[in-house]
Symmetry: D2
Subunit: 451 residues, 4 copies
């Protein structure tokens, strides 16, 4: 992920320093476990831990360079690290990595990194949820037009729209919690997963210390269906970001103008057109969603490794693990800020709601006619006819409102009292179930409508 | 999905008859609920139920044609169905669909169909799990070579390999159970989800009768992150099928010949080469996996519907819902049968395991040298040297086994007793943790090794 | 592809009858070629052709059933067909398929089918191009607002917008012509492509008769990079359909109302809301684009077949070849019709263009200030200030037009003459290069602006 | 793309320095063109060019920092650059970017960068083609077994296998040349593509100087179907890389051992198993192919920008443009080196070819029986029976070769002379058409077979 979309805390998880730190921790823990179960002298494990901790505490660019230098010869990253570590630890290093295979270290480390990244993403999601909840309660009774097919449908509440997005992000949070469990496993099972040279209790020991579960059966690696499921969760979350971003983009368009991203003092929207204030944050989120989403394909292709493993997944994961978590972290943080500061125009919402002459109440009128005993088919025809007449003449001389057209219709006049038509034209009927919905979503209805 | 990969029971779920049956059930239940909560006369609901049930019981091609005929005019499928239903029910039809929107019916119906399909897929997964478990216990102690990078690594058990696939399919089963919950929701909330014309209790009533959960907040539709998550689960399962299929394809290749798909009497492998017996089932599964997997992309693109919904998801779902479930149903059934009848050649496994002159025990030898006090770096050099010498001369005059080469090596001779080398060359050491792994995966270790 | 999105002519290409017809043609041509180059008696080739032609002419459901019956035993489709053919031809059938492999027939047949399908798609594209060109000339001088970020930018011509889509579809046509060449190859090269049992001149003979090129080097199959490139072309075309569909959806939205899909008499937009006229065609096209686009992934995954071939591509192609071409054929035909009948509202375009009080001319004003000697940075600040003031007060008491605000600005007043501001506010300046652009795209500028 | 898979020359194309250099060049050329066509004083254009050239020549980290600083306020990258440039140029800077929009600079710059990157990729492809051609001629007559379904089929030549990959990469080269033309366009057409404030001749002038074509009709941006087609080409190439990589992985597997990646002195294959030499380069290429391939999805999703543009494509392209070209550059260079140094074992190829007792000649025997007057169906049955008998007893006591089994078959004995069976068993018949195929692919057959 390019620096422009990278936040330092998430990037640090994927930096070499963090990786080497975790590698050492795994090796040291395994050594301690082996000491406990007999394969390694307790004293040696102590030396490994102490000298290793010291080396990691003093870890610097020089160490990175030295490891790279060794890897240039051995062409094997874990061996390069172990060789460097041996230089720091001395003879006791022969008890390091005993009976283990590189993937024991690599895959368990990846689990730790993904767990660290996921915890950060969960916090990001919480910030999004907080912003959405706050704005949903703020606008619980803000009337706005609901749209299907981008055509005015029936009134709704802007808060309810946000509540829908909140509910989606709450589901996304649950998905991410499950995805975290998917990848929070530890494998220390040797070259092909038989524990031939390492006691299974070592795996259990290391897993417990790292907050992971021991993998049920590993081959040489932790099975990649776990990582595929993880990236699927990120992709679903990214798509939820896109849905909300697209909503904001629509609301800000010049003809709608119901909401607007906060425009900073000094900000410039266009080099050529000084009047521009563009929804660039939500457009940016739309693009970031595409990036994160595309990772599902290589992640799924990584599942079918050959036999007990091939290494084709590695180059994929070296990219999509940082790119996916960094990209999503940036996007969620941006989304939370954007929703927090979103400028909302309730007056524009009312203006738009009323702009079609009242035809948005056609559904209620249809029911009223049905209640008055008119057959559904006939009622539909009558209402459609008057709605189309209203629509066609919108803003033109001689144009009449939907209400006026209905009253003038001989099939309506006399059969439906004016009070019924009045009631049908009242948008407030669409706010009646808000407490029901809010309670379902937030667990509370919130304060009632201001007098 | 083309007929070649379609099983009738799954196809029936997606047939128009089943859809209309579910549509009617939703309408009838909603009508009964409204009768209970006041909006509809109880007598009318009874008529709707009775005449409707009779019409559905007598449903024939003529009804399909009639509905198509109406849709050709109205260009709206739900209205076409309701019009047909009105013809069957008479005046009481005016109480049908009261205050509801088409999507209330369409989306709830899709939930029912997906639940039906998922229950079938869960049964398919159980058949795969059964076959894998049976074969895993059958071959618990069948020695075979573990391979990383398709290069012989260390011995393992063929049963353990199958146990790994079992564990993956058990995870896939859990994922599918969760995916089922994702899409098992019901929405009867009106045009934009405000319950303006329909009591929320109607939704709860219908949901309960259909075995669904009421949707937290719907817009006009059930939110599509649910369906995206569902197709992600199918894609992960498909990738697990591919992993096992690729394993079988490798095992059957002419140079390996450790396993073979059952070849039917009368079957012909090639029009030009009568000697051919090809792993066509597993290759077919590989292709089917690609198809099912590709559905994640449009399913994810479906999430960001505009405002309270647009209908772009519909054409996607009309295809991927049947194609995905039919394809996966076919693939899982084929996989279960293939694994059930897979012909396994333990003698070839032994032959391959031994074909590299014993170098596959290099890891154990490395440890033995380390235990004998040789520094890891030196031990690695010694073992690598002798392994490469063995490998290079494989099958050539003057070639020696790894064991022979080690004994002749001055750095080894005298430092490592023959009994230690013997022990290092014994593949059985890789079977020691089988009980541990089997218990983790299957909950039982199974019977011990036959004498 | 479900029947709802299937047109019969394209479906017929993928029907078994057409496949068997092409298979026979390939076998008969190969037989005739072998007769010419010595391997087959001329008399036998004549019998094969005559009896085979008769059998294909009389081909019926009974023949389909018989072939299926044989395949149920042999589990090989080409052998089943050849066996059926032998029943029709008699002893001379021993000269059929001589030295050939099934893939020679299968892959060459697929090429023929894809060429047939592509020619249909090219005709579809021509219909789209025709409709776009007609409407582009019709609306060459129809002023409308250009939008970037969905925010009003500067005026443009609606015809120019369509010209841009025309140019994209013209590129798509070129891409499809190239894609057709990609897959128009013939392979008759035997089991692994060595021509061991078949003269290369047979391949050249059959290719020439079928309008194909002989494949450079085939393995057992025609290499799948060709098919991958083909599906990439379909995906790019699908994305172009989506771009135009999204444009129409935007133009039809209730707040914009600049264009509208034709609404049929009798059509119903919603079961609940009789006032609805939804852009369902363009939304449907958006979904179909997602479907066609998703095929690129399995098509690309099909490239890396093992060694001289594996059959994993087959199940993929049995689905995506019909689905992709049928789906795109339907979508292009729908698009052509939709654009042909699109209802366009020039008065709404003008109303929208003018709805922001003239700030859409801020770019021209910026240039005018620069020309008047004001530094770019200062000019930008001045114009931005007045544009924002206009925008903020839009439709509110005390709100002034951009022109009025500028005139009242002390930094503008006296430095820029009114006539310059007048000129800057004239949308016609954006029509000046239309002849240039039209000539580039269509090869002709078309008639000048009506009086 | 992580540094591990990044080559400096390709990375430099995407560095900010190169971008700013190109931005300036576009602005300077546009200024010169405007001077020529009247809008800008010639003297001013000269000042812009001279002071700008000087600023770019002295460009340093301080300049990068300054631009970032301005962007932090304006939140607009092009404005930030122009402001920096104005600081360097002084008052004449008011003639820079006159009547242009940011995208004129951004999109034309992207075209230049993609062209630069593509030229590098073309050179990479040439290196792959060179290596493949050299090895194909080297091994023109190296017999090896052709495999379909990974089952031995019929003999072929290893050179011919490579010729097939050469042909695919030659097609890929053509595709990349066309893809280069797709994205080699220039747009200087103003805010929404109407040339309202800029003469179309400016576009033509700049395009010609930069080696680009003027875009037919641009909106605010160059249409993204071009970039989608470009990434499709990269994806097809990546899939070709994967096909060859998978071939090498198969050939190196322990049971096949027909080829091997060069193993460096000092290289270590595994931390736990010193005997390992793994095909890590080809596995790495497989993973890189997945990464590059996945870019097609966001690239295709970028096509349907809203109206005259939205900026959702930007974050996608900021990542996939460098990642795709850097990843493919690295992969192609790695592939060329790998194929160049690939260790090939002709003796293992012969050993494998002969390992199935001669059944790989079943096709030729089938033809011989047919020529001897046996009906195809009967001949197939006879040959299949003897091939299966041979196969089943391979390496077992009493096992006989295919030839022996045939001679002992009463249906064969006496009907087919021994000389015919001898000829059928001769692999050289599969080399007869090599000159034909090589001439098609390489334009030359190369030297004849060494005596």
């Amino acid at each position: 992920m390019v620096p422009r979309y990278t936040r330092p805390a998430m990037a640090a998880i994927w930096a070499p320093e963090n990786r080497y730190r975790i590698w050492f921790e795994i090796e040291a823990l395994a050594c301690e476990a082996m000491a406990q179960y007999g394969a390694v002298p307790a004293e040696a494990a102590k030396v490994v831990r102490e000298k290793g901790d010291a080396a990691m505490a003093a870890f610097s660019q020089a160490d990175l360079d030295r490891i790279d230098e060794i890897e240039a010869e051995t062409r094997h990253d874990v061996i390069a690290f172990l060789t460097w570590l041996a230089e720091k630890i001395g003879p006791e290093s022969r008890f390091v990595h005993l009976g283990m295979t590189s993937s024991d270290v690599l895959d368990t480390c990846l689990s730790v990194q993904l767990v660290q990244a996921t915890d950060m993403l969960l916090a990001d999601l919480d910030a999004v949820l907080d912003a959405l909840k706050r704005r949903a309660f703020e606008h619980k009774y803000t009337l706005t037009i609901g749209r299907s097919h981008a055509i005015h449908a029936e009134p709704t509440s802007f808060g309810l729209k946000l509540a829908g997005h909140y509910a989606e992000f709450a589901r996304n949070r649950e998905r991410l919690v499950r995805a975290r469990a998917e990848i929070a496993t530890c494998a220390i099972s040797g070259a092909v997963g038989t524990y031939a040279h390492v006691d299974p209790r070592v795996e259990e020991f290391v897993a417990a210390r790292l907050g992971l579960e021991p993998e049920g059966v590993s081959t040489q690696v932790i099975p990649r269906d776990r990582h595929a499921a993880y990236f699927c969760a990120l992709a679903v979350i990214a798509s939820g970001i896109e849905r909300l971003a697209v909503e904001v983009r629509h609301l800000q368009r010049s003809e709608v103008r119901e909401a607007e991203e906060f425009f900073h003092p000094g900000q410039k929207g266009s080099s050529a057109m000084p009047h521009k204030r563009n929804p660039v944050l939500s457009e940016n989120l739309t693009g970031l969603a595409r990036l994160v989403r595309a990772h599902v394909i290589p992640a799924l292709e990584n599942v079918a490794l050959w036999h007990e493993r091939d290494i084709s997944h590695s180059s994929v994961e070296r990219n999509i693990c940082p790119d996916g978590t960094i990209g999503l972290d940036f996007a969620l943080a941006r989304l939370a800020g954007m929703m927090d500061k979103l400028v909302i125009y309730p007056d524009r919402m009312i203006a738009n709601l009323e702009s079609l002459g009242g035809v948005v109440h056609s559904g209620e009128v249809l029911l009223a006619l049905a209640r008055a005993g008119i057959l559904r088919e006939d009622a539909y025809r009558i209402v459609q006819r008057n709605a189309m007449a209203t629509w066609t003449m919108l803003g033109k001389p001689g144009g009449r409102s939907f209400r006026e057209n209905l009253e003038a219709d001989p099939e309506v006049a006399g059969r439906v009292p004016a009070s019924v038509l009045d009631a049908a034209m009242n948008s407030d009927s669409h706010l009646g179930a808000l407490d029901h919905s809010y309670t379902r979503v937030f667990g509370e209805a919130g304060p009632g409508r201001a007098g």
